[in-house]
Amino acid sequence: MNETKATTKTTHPHTGMTTRHDAWWLAPLMVATGFTIFIVYATYRAFENNYYEIGAIISPFYSPKIVLDWFPFSPALLILWVPAGFRATCYYYRKAYYRAYFLTPPACGVKVYGNNGYTGERAFPFVLQNLHRYFFYLATLVLLILWYDAFKALIEPTFHLDLVTVIMFINCFLLSGYSFGCHAYRHLAGGGLNCFSKDESTKRRFKVWEFVSKLNEHHMGWAWCSLFSVGFTDFYIRQVCANVFPNPTFF
């Protein structure tokens, strides 16, 4: 044996949580922090039931505005479950919160938290993740309404462009990039086919699938940008409604 050799006692090559030297905990910590901030803010806004509409402008948290006589609570509660369900069942967000909140695992090569009874997505409640495509259908309807809201804010009462309208259009663009790059849509667009060259219909679906795949490559980026934009759009509209922030008109 060489003299440069020293010994550290152990009984198994993998005894501790991990032997990773890098800051593996940083990414899940940042994700958990980001999600928690958004969830707290969105919950507060959903129950605030005020400062969400001014003229033709409406907050994305309250659109479409559904007012029912028998429902005395905030109208946001009637609509927010759709985008919330879409994001909660999204394949990117699943990765993010399984790591950040459930620690299964917190990072690659790091021991999971809790070992007993793991069933993954085979049993309740996580088997409900399979409903993702239904949330996609519903979230697409909501997204179309948000585009309608943005155009309505542009043309009412007369054609004009103000800061809130610009923010609303940017938000719709980012939400569209997120929604139409979704894994479920990628499958529905053409990923479920085995043969793209079969006929004209499958060839067209192949083109759509290729485009969706390009969006899908950056799904994480779209997910975070659209999460920030929808929160910021609501925040800015709230502040304008409360006369705290200005809404300058460009023309």
Binding site: M1, N2, T4, K5, A6, T7, T8, K9, T10, T11, H12, P13, H14, T18, T19, R20, H21, D22, Y91, R94, K95, Y98, R99, T104, P105, C108, G109, V110, K111, V112, N115, Y118, T119, G120, E121, R122, F126, V127, N130, L131, H132, R133, H183, A184, H187, L188, G191, G192, L193, N194, C195, F196, S197, S201, T202, F206, N216, E217
Partner: protein
């Protein structure tokens, strides 16, 4: 000459010690070179499995500083001078000796998968757009790093219910093949246990061939399972239009 400080697991059948070695660093050196240096100059009994040293045979899988990777693809110049470099065998499979683990379970799983079953009478003209997805999966070198890092196998030890990412890749390659005629979706859901995967993407992170295991293999398989078992509307439309 600069020296690297390696801490290598030595022992047999899960029992052993971490031993430290100082190895001179040369330009272009990888961790496998350092292990070979130890083998040739310090301790010829150290066991390491390797073959090509070109990241193509998938033999030298291990864990360097806790990260599953190929020893032949882990460059020494990415470590800080004087940094302790921990080298361990892969965790998920039975330990044999030093850096060698017994990965034979994987070959047993492979035998359970219904092999390529061509459609009878197919003319074998296949267009690039139809086969491109499958070609990505054919890059797999069977290093089993994805199997090793997958927490379902690594921490929960559910080898009884989950085939692991490597075999999800094989199943996806077969299911998406334009000439194949077998239906393995029941196997994907039940025996292969795709539902155990919670898509935390570690398999993709460690793949030395950069196969997008989660996005291109596991998630599409999950969606096909949804088509077949969880989505009556999609099943209805599929039966009406018979697009496949």
């Amino acid at each position: 000459m600069a020296e690297a400080n390696l801490k290598v697991f030595r022992g047999e059948k899960d029992s052993g010690t971490f031993e430290n070695y100082k190895v001179p660093i040369e330009e272009g050196m990888v961790v496998l070179d350092a292990i070979h240096y130890i083998q040739q100059n310090m301790d010829p009994t150290i066991a390491v499995r390797w073959n090509c040293k070109a990241a193509k045979c998938g033999s030298c899988s291990a864990e360097v500083n806790g990260k599953p990777q190929l020893l032949c693809k882990s460059r020494m110049d990415k470590f800080e001078p004087g940094e302790e470099i921990t080298v361990q065998p892969i965790k998920t499979f039975p330990h044999v000796k030093d850096l060698v683990a017994d990965v034979s379970w994987n070959y047993e799983v492979n035998k359970k998968i219904v092999p390529f079953t061509p459609q009878p009478g197919h003319n074998w003209v296949v267009y690039q757009e139809d086969i491109e997805r499958v070609q990505e999966f054919r890059k797999c070198i069977e290093c089993f790093l994805c199997q090793n890092v997958c927490h379902v196998l690594r921490d929960h030890n559910r080898k009884d219910g989950f085939y692991g990412p490597r075999f999800m890749v094989r199943l996806a390659g077969l299911e998406m093949h334009p000439v194949d005629s077998a239906n393995r979706l029941k196997m994907v859901k039940e025996d292969a246990g795709v539902g155990f995967c919670n898509i935390t993407k570690c398999c993709t992170e460690v793949c030395p061939e950069d196969i997008h295991i989660t996005d291109n293999a596991i998630i599409p398989l999950k969606e096909r399972v949804v088509d077949e078992f969880y989505d009556p509307i999609a099943k209805f439309f599929k039966s009406v239009f018979k697009a496949k």
